[in-house]
């Protein structure tokens, strides 16, 4: 059987690629580290504190209190019925603190008495301070709301005139007096960061489905460009490209082999990354075959771009530096890690015209928001067209 240069170029590039440790780090380990880091910092699953909870009270107020606490992003509650089990759980280091809601918590509050919580934290001073501050803040907020509600009730049932020391006080005076006990000092917190951006960014990182987009897009933006460039730059550096040119194999088949090998490498990396992300985050996704054309067009465009940069560069070293810089810049402006609204206007204008940005949007649209064909067409066409300069260059 005749050995086919297209297949052999592809095979050779794949072997070189997967046998190089540093390449494996950048294509597989690095994006996974990013995912683990960011998703555990901001993701719902990776809450900052785990708190063991024993609800001895079981009343309506304690239930509401615990549910509120659980719905914050920073805590994850684990319920126990026995105090000793819960303590053991904390001692094992599986939770950062233990919160006990004593019997009578709900009754005390509803009958206007002071309610009490018992709170134990681990000995680690950092965890201790952090988790205590967090809980204090939450209890303050909860108390304030509770007082506001109690006052509202009071307001409703209080008669308009209240006799006091021979005089009649008006209801309004009594209420505002009581309110000053409830919240003697009011602080208005001015916004320091644009609140809507911060929350949007956090939502980006929290949205587990988006991490699948990140894995696919990181590979097609960065690994594709850098991989293609380094495979060709490496040939130039080795001088092996001279052997390629001196051989009767056509330039077209060499290019086809490079693209085929590159595509296989990227697809394999994407499969590995997506699988591991699914295993780790278990995101809810709208799987659709429509992501395939987006990913393949993106893979090809970035491979083509990488090859083109090497062709245009004066030497292999300049080429790999250029491609790394461009690759990192595109990663940051394409909406991979931050929403586009986060970018200053001029940068955003640039981002909007980069086809990779559309790929990220399309993937998020398909996987996270459940959009359909309409989000695919534009990026596929534009990504595929990014290949054209390269074809023109070779022939």
């Amino acid at each position: 059987m005749k050995l086919n240069p297209i297949i052999e170029v592809a095979r050779k590039d794949m072997l070189s690629f997967f046998r190089s440790k540093s390449t494996l780090f950048w294509t597989l380990t690095f994006p996974l580290l990013m995912m683990l880091l960011f998703s555990s910092m901001f993701g719902g699953r990776g809450a900052m504190f785990t708190i063991a909870v024993v609800d001895q009270d079981g009343g309506n107020v304690s239930k509401a209190f615990l549910e509120d606490l659980n719905s914050t992003n920073v805590t994850r509650l684990v319920w126990f019925s026995s105090e000793s089990d819960a303590k053991e759980y904390v001692m094992d280091g599986r939770a950062d603190a233990l919160l006990i809601v004593p019997r009578g918590f709900s009754d005390n509050l509803t009958s206007g008495l002071t309610a009490e919580l018992r709170f134990y934290t681990s000995e680690d001073p950092q965890v201790r301070t952090a988790v205590t501050n967090m809980l204090n803040g939450f209890v303050d907020a909860f108390s304030e709301e509770y007082r506001a509600r109690a006052l509202a009730i009071l307001e409703e049932y209080m008669p308009p005139e209240i006799p006091a020391g021979g005089r009649n006080l008006s209801r309004d005076i009594v209420i505002s007096f009581l309110r000053s006990f409830g919240k003697p000092v009011r602080i208005r917190i001015a916004s320091i960061t644009k609140p809507e951006l911060t929350s949007e960014t956090a939502a980006y990182w929290k949205e587990e489905g988006h991490w699948i987009t990140v894995m696919l897009a990181y590979t097609l933006i960065f690994s594709g460009m850098v991989g293609a460039a380094s495979l060709l730059a490496y040939e130039k550096l080795l001088g092996t490209v001279k052997r390629l040119i001196a051989s009767p194999a056509s330039r077209w088949s060499l290019l086809a082999g490079k693209l085929l090998g590159g595509l296989a490498i990227l697809t394999l990396s994407q499969l590995i990354l997506v699988l591991l992300t699914i295993l780790w985050l278990r995101p809810e996704l709208n799987w659709t075959p429509l992501i395939i054309p987006v990913v393949i067009a993106g893979d090809l465009a970035s491979l083509g771009l990488g090859l083109l940069v090497v062709e245009l560069s004066p030497n292999p070293k300049a080429a790999s530096e250029a491609v790394t810089t461009v690759g990192i810049m595109i990663q940051f402006v394409s909406g991979l890690y931050f929403p586009l609204s986060f970018l200053p206007d001029p940068l955003r204008a640039v981002a909007e015209i980069i086809p990779f940005t559309w790929a990220v949007k399309a993937l998020d649209g398909l996987l996270v928001m459940g959009k359909g064909l309409e989000s695919v067409a534009a990026p596929v066409i534009s990504l595929a067209s990014a290949l054209f300069p390269r074809w023109a260059e070779v022939e």
Partner: protein
């Protein structure tokens, strides 16, 4: 038959004239050497012949075919081994070879047969399965050479194939090249080792600054441009001045060469006993006497006015 014919070949890199209207030919079955210092244009010339670079002007014919117009046909006739070791370090020798075979559209069975045959001639059997990055320089060169001759080229172009090898390994390599010549290849190789050009090549072109300074069989070049032979006398070091005076009295053509005194002569065998008698009679017995015939080094020196070795560093 003429294997390679180069005519009026010129290559400009911007303002740099790397090749300046070069013309020569190589006969079929010959081992033809290009000898020249760094930057003399050897690599540029070979890469143009191999089709890796385009010339500024001039023509190249390989077995009668125009190398610039009929690229595909000519590339099958040529085996090119560039100056850099050009193998993929992450692949084994065998994987490298298989890849090259595919570039020439070789048949799988033919490829295996050829690897079997060549690993015998080149002595690469023991390390074909190892990753190239784990091999020694000499082993790599052998595999690289094997890659260049897999498709049984008629004209083999080797750019400094022995650079970096120790003298013993270099001699082994010469055997290999003779073996390939006996297999029917014509060989064009470059070197800046003058002994290599002298002993390995049938004919040599001496290059300098993009031109061929002279061309011919090594013996003929040495006879024509090498100057006379030299007898070099090494007296005891503290007596060297006295010995020099003594020899001058004999009206000999004399130059200091390191710790020795070199005497130019047409008949070295006759001069040696005369020198010994006359020096001994003055109590200046030499420690050692050497006869040096002209080398290609002398040829280069005489033609360019500069020593080859000096230009090289």
């Amino acid at each position: 038959m003429i294997a390679l014919e180069v005519e009026g070949l010129t290559k400009m890199y911007g303002e740099v004239r790397a090749l300046d209207f070069i013309s020569f030919h190589v006969n079929e079955g010959e081992i033809f050497g290009l000898l020249g210092p760094n930057g003399s244009g050897k690599t540029t010339l070979m890469e143009i012949i191999a089709g890796v670079r385009a010339p500024t002007s001039g023509s190249v014919k390989v077995f009668g075919l125009d190398a610039l117009r009929e690229r595909e046909k000519v590339s099958r006739l040529i085996g090119f081994n560039p100056q850099e070791t050009m193998l993929y370090g992450d692949l084994s020798g065998w994987e490298n070879l298989r890849f090259v075979a595919s570039l020439y559209g070789m048949d799988d069975r033919e490829f295996r047969r050829r690897v079997e045959e060549l690993s015998e001639i080149l002595g690469t059997k023991g390390f074909l399965d190892k990753r190239v990055s784990k091999l020694s320089g000499g082993q790599r060169r052998r595999i690289s050479l094997m890659a260049s001759v897999l498709h049984s080229p008629h004209l083999l172009i080797l750019d400094e194939p022995t650079v970096g090898l120790d003298p013993e390994a270099r001699r082994d390599f010469w055997e290999v090249i003779w073996g390939l010549r006996d297999e029917g290849s014509t060989i064009l190789l470059s070197t800046h080792y003058m002994e290599e050009a002298d002993e390995l090549c049938d004919r040599v072109a001496i290059m300098d600054k993009g031109r061929i300074v002279t061309l011919g069989e090594p013996e003929e070049l040495k006879r024509r441009y090498g100057g006379t032979a030299k007898v070099i006398v090494y007296p005891r070091l503290r007596l060297i001045g006295e010995a020099e005076r003594a020899l001058r009295v004999m009206s000999l053509k004399l130059t200091r060469m390191g710790d020795g005194l070199a005497v130019d002569t047409e008949e070295p065998e006759e001069l040696v006993p005369v020198l010994i008698t006359s020096l001994s009679s003055r109590g200046l017995e030499p420690e050692r006497i050497e006869i040096r015939s002209p080398t290609l080094e002398d040829v280069f020196l005489n033609l360019t006015g500069r020593p080859l070795a000096e230009v090289m560093e």
